[in-house]
Subunit: 247 residues, 2 copies
DNA sequence: CGCCAGTTTGACCAAGATCAACGCAAGTGG
DNA sequence: CCACTTGCGTTGATCTTGGTCAAACTGGCG
């Protein structure tokens, strides 16, 4: 329940964290945060830049300070799948065993903390309790993945898109406005659909008054009827699958 | 790299492990195996029986001694998704945080070791190195899930079925005969397809001479041309995604 | 033998993909 | 300032993959 952990932003002396950070860690936690601070270095990337590539040596793990990162994997014929979007506080690149199994790319302008694997290893050896944190985070993410597999394997286009809107809304802690920093193509690749289908479903929701677009902006959507969205992708409990972690 | 870990069977004084176990652990490992033995209890289930249910309190984790277990999740309208098949040596039920997020059912006659969470916690506190093992296993499984998400989100029916045959073949360490203890319906729910589509793809492979059924048995398939199967689901590296773990 | 559960095959259907065109805002260069 | 381009989003027409429905087949078993 401490850093690096999703849904929580670093209390950083570099003041890179959004000031919206609301959770005040106790002194014990601050120690641990501090430990991570010590071994991490700040890195910035512009939208479209690659943070690491599929197959790269897994010499570092990351945590997002600000901006959005997509974790994606390509098939040789160009088909793409995005396994995860990472927002401020989310971690990625931790599950690599012998090289990263996917690439990480900046969606917009991104600031990340980079933790060298060797330093992480040392840190854990000095403070075994940190390993417990990492383990818990990973278990949590593995549980979250259950839901995504169900979504990709068994849910309809409408259910996927509704589910996506609710997921993003929950993860960004917004009540009825959802910011979508990623393109429609990114969303499609995340949901296992095509860009046209994503558009059509969004249009359908608009027509039904369930959502509205914050015209002329295409990257912001207003949830007019959250209950209706939830009903659409009902079926499955929306409890313990929000949040994400290592990749 | 020790127990509980997939692809390796317990050296048990209850001699429940298939005698095909080939890896001889060193004395250090035997200690750890022994530690797990101490806190685990043997349980048996008949095909179709439920080991635990979606939503159950996560008071135990499991390792398969023999037989096959399916981890599955239901939508309210009956749609089902199987997130994992567990064979001898595989672990399941470890990623539950506040209750199991899916149910576990015996596919055929199954023997498992059951590890109470409390005992696991104690064991880890006494021997922190075990936590590292659990963490590694979970990271490994998270990496493996990448491939399944790509499969469910972006691969065609033929690619899914071919990929499945290769996965099972690899995981069961058979060269050209694949045993399929699960039904076609199970396979379909695992691959995000219908039973008819699975049948049709299998028939197509048979017609093309890529596979053959070990008539009259429907639960055994012969891989006549493994290279062709690999070519079909090529695209993606088949390296580090074999094996599975907590659920 | 007849029943049963699982599998296979065929005919038809529909969700979503593909192909194509258009809209629209933000550059860019004259 | 205005043409022109470019990248993304939206919409429509059409096609294909895989789903649905239905029937036949198979082996096991009382």
């Amino acid at each position: 329940m401490l850093l690096p952990r999703e849904g929580r932003t670093a209390i950083s002396r570099f003041k890179t964290a959004p000031s919206s950070s609301t959770i005040v860690p106790n002194s014990k936690q601050v120690d641990r945060l501090d430990a991570w601070e010590q071994i991490g270095t700040r890195r910035c990337f512009n939208g479209g830049e690659e943070i690491y590539s599929d197959g790269d040596a897994a010499d570092s793990s990351y945590r997002v300070v600000s901006g959005t990162v997509r974790i994606c994997k390509l098939l040789t014929d160009g088909r793409r799948h995005i396994s995860k979007f990472c927002f401020a506080g989310d971690c990625f690149g931790w599950s690599a065993v012998a090289g990263h199994a996917a690439s990480a790319e900046a969606v917009d302008h991104v600031v990340v903390m980079r933790y060298p694997q060797r330093a992480v290893k040392c840190l854990i050896e000095g403070e075994p309790r940190l390993l417990r944190d990492l383990y818990d985070r990973t278990l949590h993410e593995l549980g979250a993945v259950q839901h995504r597999m169900m979504l990709l394997g068994r849910m309809t286009a409408a259910e996927r898109v509704a589910s996506f809107l609710i997921e993003i809304s929950d993860r960004r802690h917004t009540c009825n406005a959802v910011d979508l920093p990623m393109t429609r193509t990114d969303i499609a690749d995340y949901l296992g659909l095509t860009i046209e289908t994503v558009c059509r479903e969004l249009s359908k929701f608009k027509r039904d008054g369930i959502i509205a677009s914050a015209k002329p902006r295409t990257d912001r959507i207003l949830l007019r009827d959250r209950a209706a969205l939830e009903a659409i992708c009902d079926s499955d409990a929306h409890d313990h699958w929000v949040g994400a972690a290592a990749a």
